[in-house]
Amino acid sequence: MSGNAYVHRPTASPQAAAEWTQRQILMTNLRTVAGRAYPRVRGLAREKSWLFFEILLPFLTTSAFVFVYRALQAPPEYVGFVVLGGAMTAFWLNVIWMMASQLWWEKSQGNLELYFAAPMDIVAVLLGMAVGGMVMSSSRAAVVLVVATVVYGVTFAVDQWLLLLAVFFLTLTALYGLGMVLASLFLMWGREAYHLTQFLQEPVYFVSGLNFPVGRLGMLGALAIALLPLAVGLDAMRQLAFADAAYPVGTPPPEVEALILVVMTVVFLSLARWMLRTLERLARREGRLTIRWQ
């Protein structure tokens, strides 16, 4: 046994140990984000099954739409739309299956009470999950994008790279912000979580326009753009990635859609923070949610 394993950072008293500076609090929350992101990033290398489920299967779905569009002699950009949509599917799957149900799963594993009993802000844990999920899904999305682009000969025409990157990252922050909100909701609803996941998956696929321009849905598309980060983000990215299209690709201009994404990010992250605090208050008052057997 090492000599000082039981004394790491000696403190004079419990009172001294309990008083943290603002810097300590901030650093602990930032480290929590990194710490909680770590399992997801490591999981990339350890669980190879994702290569099949999250690359090959979306690629096949994308291919099916490519062949349909080609058979219908649709404009060539449509192949690019589908490839972009296929890549973004990875993020939606991650949000709806992992992010949203994560707290519920953490509760059943007994992790949640340890998270609540630790000194960091629980929002940092959820942010860590989101960051880890983004890294994990980005690699999957990149593989789908590159492979499909090469296989189907997609040509991108980008005039505003910075705006495209900004829209991409805003889409992710808004999407994972929504995931954080869903995580709290799913925790409240317990066993119904998976039913809700199944219920949401296909409708969101559809109204987000993953395989076609969402503008084609008329009012429903406009509603989706106003509410769903994936719909508005994808619409903006298509406009920016195929700037030379001979016809209007998206509905509102990408600058406006970027602003919508900023608003969504702020709203979803604030809502998630409020919901987590409410959840913790409820958990402590009612004696459930965090405690595995209750």
């Binding site: 046994m1 039981y6 140990a17 770590y38 999981g43 009993a117 000194p119």
Partner: protein
């Protein structure tokens, strides 16, 4: 820790009611506790006694319905962050973390939640892995650990932040004898390293509580029935001195002993193996005396009867005896089965302690 330090744990009229149908459940019903810094304190009680509810309140996971609770002076309702910085907890059968991670990685992840720097975290993790004896499992995936190894890892997790107070809820549940012993040694070593470190332990294993705890509260139905050191609690129910004798022979039977002054009762007992002299037959006798002073007369009388004493042991009541006396049922018995509802709360309808149940024995001869 100065003399004016606040108590490590202080509860006043702590009450917790769970809303349930058809009737609300009173889990804690006015708990008053004082645990001083540096104490190893045990909570003993059957399932449903309120132990875990109490721990959940003290670890800030649950609000009390009424009453107060403080950890080192910090209020569990309003000063949760301060408490969470100085405490940690480990529960028996804990399956926390992620099976895909290696032991080292899992512990590092938790170290980040307590604000350790990345490199500092890896160093700390390696120290603790060595300390708990998991060096061979350092790079093993969490999902492949045995129950005992997993619990050692949980202990390493619990010690990452140098807690001043450690809550242990059935920490050796499901462990084999050697793993449980390793865990107990670990707790004691950690506690001894810094004066003032405090442990609150709940356990079903009376011997474990007896061995580790300086003081114990026996709880049932959300109430504290008794508090004291194991010795005090046992003494509280021991009204007579009980001895067990191994004799080479006893002419006249136990009746000859029962007539002696100071002897309350004498009865033959099954002879223990290993106390006989080779193939010789021995006689075992249980003696109940008014007090220890009566023993001299018994020894003299046995000499007069020509009996040779092969072994003499004093029997003490166990914590289980104390528990039965106070609660009115055995530890694993269904509640209410032997309860006399007309008796004062916490008292048994039949208060006879079960002294025959493997008494702890002090070797005298």
């Amino acid at each position: 820790m100065s003399a004016t330090s606040p108590l490590a744990i202080e509860t006043r009229a702590l009450r917790r009611v769970y809303r349930a149908k058809p009737n609300d459940v009173v889990a804690l019903d006015g708990i008053d506790l004082e645990v001083v810094p540096g104490e190893f304190f045990g909570l003993l009680g059957p399932n449903g006694a309120g132990k875990t509810t109490l721990i959940k309140i003290l670890t800030t996971l649950l609000l009390p319905t009424t009453g107060e609770a403080r950890i080192f002076g910090f209020d569990v309702v309003h000063q949760t962050k301060q408490i969470r910085r100085i405490m940690n907890m480990v529960a028996g059968g804990e399956q926390s973390g992620y099976g895909i991670l290696e032991v080292r990685e899992q512990l590092w992840m938790f170290s980040q939640f307590y604000g350790l720097g990345s490199r500092d975290g890896w160093r700390r993790v390696d120290e603790l892995i060595d300390a708990v004896g998991l060096d061979e499992q350092r790079r093993q995936k969490v999902s492949t650990l045995s129950t005992g190894q997993r619990q050692k890892m949980n202990f390493a997790r619990g010690l990452l932040n140098d807690p001043w107070i450690f809550f242990l809820d059935e920490p050796t549940l499901g462990l084999d004898v050697s793993a449980a012993r390793a865990v107990r040694e670990l707790i004691l070593s950690w506690k001894a390293a810094v004066p003032g470190r405090t442990v609150l332990l709940t356990s079903h294993y009376m011997a474990e509580v007896d061995e580790l705890c300086e003081r114990i509260a026996i709880v049932d139905h959300g109430r504290v029935l008794a508090i004291g050191s194991p010795a005090e609690l046992k003494h509280r129910i021991q009204r007579e001195s009980i001895f067990r004798l191994e004799l080479d022979r006893l002419d006249g039977g136990t009746a000859s002993l029962a007539r002696l002054p100071g002897v309350v009762a004498a009865s033959a007992a099954a002879s223990d193996e290993g106390h006989g002299q080779g193939d010789r037959q021995s006689v075992s006798v249980n003696l109940v005396l008014e007090d220890d002073a009566a023993l001299g007369g018994v020894v003299g009388a046995l000499g007069g009867l020509g009996a040779q004493i092969l072994a003499l042991r004093k029997s003490e009541p166990t914590l289980e005896d104390v528990f039965v006396e106070l609660v009115g049922r055995g530890f694993d018995d269904a509640p209410d089965a032997s309860r006399d509802e007309t008796a004062p709360k916490g008292r048994a309808a039949d208060p006879q302690p079960r002294r025959e149940a493997e008494p702890a024995e002090e070797e005298l001869v």
